[in-house]
Symmetry: D2
Subunit: 289 residues, 4 copies
């Protein structure tokens, strides 16, 4: 965890924070319960943080973090994608209120001008909003539809206003039962880019997300429950560098005559880096935010 | 005015409402003061509504409505455009607070997905926001710059939330000295499309604008002064039809029999126009290619 | 037809040109065969121009013009829309070659920056292109898929190049079996906006379309068959004015004096409409909000 | 160079290929002439490849490669940016034909849907095209303006057509004096992202560019001279990993008791990675293409 702190890297995915910590500690983490379910097209990992101690360890609030890992999302395969969609809908539905008296506010976080950060606004573009139709008591929508409003608040550099100020202002006006925040995430592993989905009933903690938005969007701040849905779209380049060195050390530090060893095996360098970046072969690029 | 009411057409420009009313009445309108200033590249008409009676007559709040008419905006002519820009800046500056302690919130009204209604969001895209830099007390911006935040709240059909709710929510959070609302307007004459600019210190009245946004954005609702800047981008098709018939009548009413004939059937005019435009009722607008 | 020529208005829809001409002539037009088929959710009118005389009369090339009129497209009704989609696919399939050895080039005509003219580029955005996968002989696509390429060539004002030059250049490189040109059309009636679809096996004639693109896209020019698919998105404002006056005259011409009066001044109609629309000459169009 | 080949990484910038090769060889490269000019706000490096041997060594065609390095482009500084703009215009002008009888075709390479690859299409959006006005012999533009056409041909995955096929098709139709191809580049160093500009009179070689477009755009293929203008927007993640390891080896391989050393200095790992990524601190992210 020291490394991530040093680089100001937030581990957006609870499942990764858990893996890292458990790997470092080599023991189960008290106050955290993890269950796994592997299906044909995806695997679901549920990380439950049950106690304050667990929350402190994983550096995120108590609550439920559900990760659907589905590398098949990166290949065109409609039936598999439908499977994953149904699973996501099922898990989401469990987190929604049973009744439909108050609207649900969907918030698309991120900057629509930057591809890796535009996930939230893109999703909002596809949302069917109905709140105004519910207000008109139009029967066509009130049966079988949820009462839904949606907003893409932009980012600080575009509006000059903290996202949380905009969202809180709107929440106070329309009084939703729930906020669903959609966000692009930073993963700790390239395998998760465009292949994992994280659902959390804890909202969004300060400092997380691709754009490093500081103020959190959670029940404490907004006064209503916040479900966060996120997909990793980037990996911090420092993690690439770190993984490379770790692999290097793993492989070669057992050799006593390290210096000699290195000289002989310099070509090993290439295959090392290749292993680190394998999931996308050489199609990964590094861009400034 | 009957005709406009029949078709639910709002006269977004005070100068047009004044012309129409004065034309119909044939006398000056009490409580309304109008001054004109013609320059080489533009003309400025200031309509001041001074009394409640004047407000009632022109169907808009007391206050100042400044219209810059500049058909030269439709042809490429950089020096002339600069002239107009300077005039607009000068008139706008007169309406701004002298001090810079509180931010100014710029609101781009309208739907970014529809060209004639996208003026507000387009303008916001070009605004240099600085409020977040002022908060950091960055000297580079605090000297010579205004403290500016900006938002494009979308429209009801996209968000499910009334624009005024979103803006009021944000105003309550960031407490601006002033709101500047940018909007596409509907004109009563094709000459004004892309050639006129209206500045008003009264905010935006309910029911005006291309998208017919009902709740107003004004000091009464938001609690802070609202300056509205608008440019006509459309003309309602009913007005095209009306103008045609009026010209027709103008030309042929010298015939005596005809004059008598017409007088009897004048009320037919509205129902005629309605028939032509029926399939979309009054929701058709005329835009330049 | 005189009126349309005077305003430089092209009747993009064969069915409208036919209605107009038959109405004016009061007799069947030789060399033109028209059949109608009315279904629950749509009506299909097929205009076949069989002879050169028919082509001269309707001012468009010999060939088949299929119009699907479906006002229900303007209301949310998924099952009805699916019905219409299936009909369109069926009619389109009849016009496609049976074999799949050469690619089909889809061309999205129009300006992506202007909503009413952006139909073609929008459609291209949704097209699944496969030609590059066929070139790689990827089995996954070669079974059950067509070999498809797609381009949005932009408009003269954006590229400085005539659309036909761009398309012809590409056709000569990739040698398609067929070009399908998608275009926004100008209708003669507001009822058809966003409710009709025209399919033609004659390509696009010079001077048609919302943006008035002069050089045609047809077999004569491109050397391969061209299917045109178009949807009306605008009506010329002059038509609104004309319809108003015509209805007016229809209603009031029972008066004898008036009838005589009007007969004398009928030529005044064109100049009247021209006066109303003068500031933008004929470049104004009517669009739904 | 072995490393880059192994990862299929193209060195898009001649100046970087030269630095790398000279570094590896430790001697001047025959047939390559390099001059440097350092100014207040930028440095210009001209790499001239004079012989076939030089071309073989640097793996790019004979010709002139001009790089303007200007890290100040990343900070808001209008006067400095203007300086750089003037220098770029000056260098570009030297490469243009003196007469203006034939048009210049500007080609914006890359995918407009992906931020780091959208540079070319963005630039084309800002280009003032005049070719159609020259064809009309409009005096307003023919004096003081160049005859310019512009196109953004998209990428293979969007059109199903190789970019070179589209461009060659258009070139054959409009017969330009010159093609200017604008492209996003991949750099070998994070310092160059959004801070360097490369101008080359050799066109674009096969396989270069962010999107790895295979067929080249050069005089051999198009039959007219091609100037390439590129700006680095990405760095391949493999380079990050490689740089990390190289630094590591540089620092620690002199130590005999390497194993012991490593155990003690494990915290050095963090500072190492920090050094590699310093130019953007931790704001670099890794994304799949």
């Amino acid at each position: 965890m020291e490394f991530f702190k040093a680089f100001g890297i937030t581990l957006d995915m609870a499942v990764e924070a858990h893996e890292l910590l458990r790997g470092e500690a080599g023991v189960e983490i008290p106050g955290v319960k993890v269950t796994k379910d592997r299906q044909a097209n995806f695997a679901v990992t549920k990380v439950q943080i049950l106690t304050n101690q667990g929350a402190l360890q994983l550096q995120r609030p108590k609550g439920n973090y559900i990760t659907i890992d589905a590398p098949i999302l990166r290949t065109p395969n409609l039936p598999a994608h439908k499977d994953i969609m149904i699973k996501l809908a099922e898990e989401l539905k469990n987190l929604l209120p049973a009744t439909n008296e108050q609207p649900i506010l969907i918030v698309g976080l991120g900057n629509w001008h930057a591809t890796p950060d535009a996930l939230g606004p893109k999703v909002v573009d596809y949302v069917l909003v109905t709140r105004h139709l519910f207000d008109l008591k139009q029967e066509a929508v009130t049966k079988g539809f949820r009462n839904v409003a949606a907003i893409s608040p932009g980012v600080l550099g575009i509006t000059g206003i903290e996202t949380v100020e905009i969202v809180k202002g709107i929440v106070e006006k329309i009084n939703p039962a729930l906020v669903i925040a959609i966000d692009a995430l930073a993963a700790a592993s390239v395998e998760r880019i465009c292949s994992s989905i994280q659902l959390a009933d804890t909202g969004i903690s300060p400092g997380s997300g691709v754009g490093n938005r500081r103020p959190g969007l959670n029940q404490e701040v907004l006064g209503v429950p916040v479900i966060a849905i996120g997909c990793p779209t980037v990996v911090n380049a420092a993690i690439i560098a770190k993984n490379t060195l770790e692999m290097f050390l793993d492989k070669f530090t057992s050799s006593k005559q390290f210096y000699q060893f290195i000289k002989t095996y310099q070509e090993g360098l290439t295959s090392l880096v290749r292993e680190v970046l394998e999931p996308f072969s050489s199609s990964l690029t590094v861009t400034p935010k």
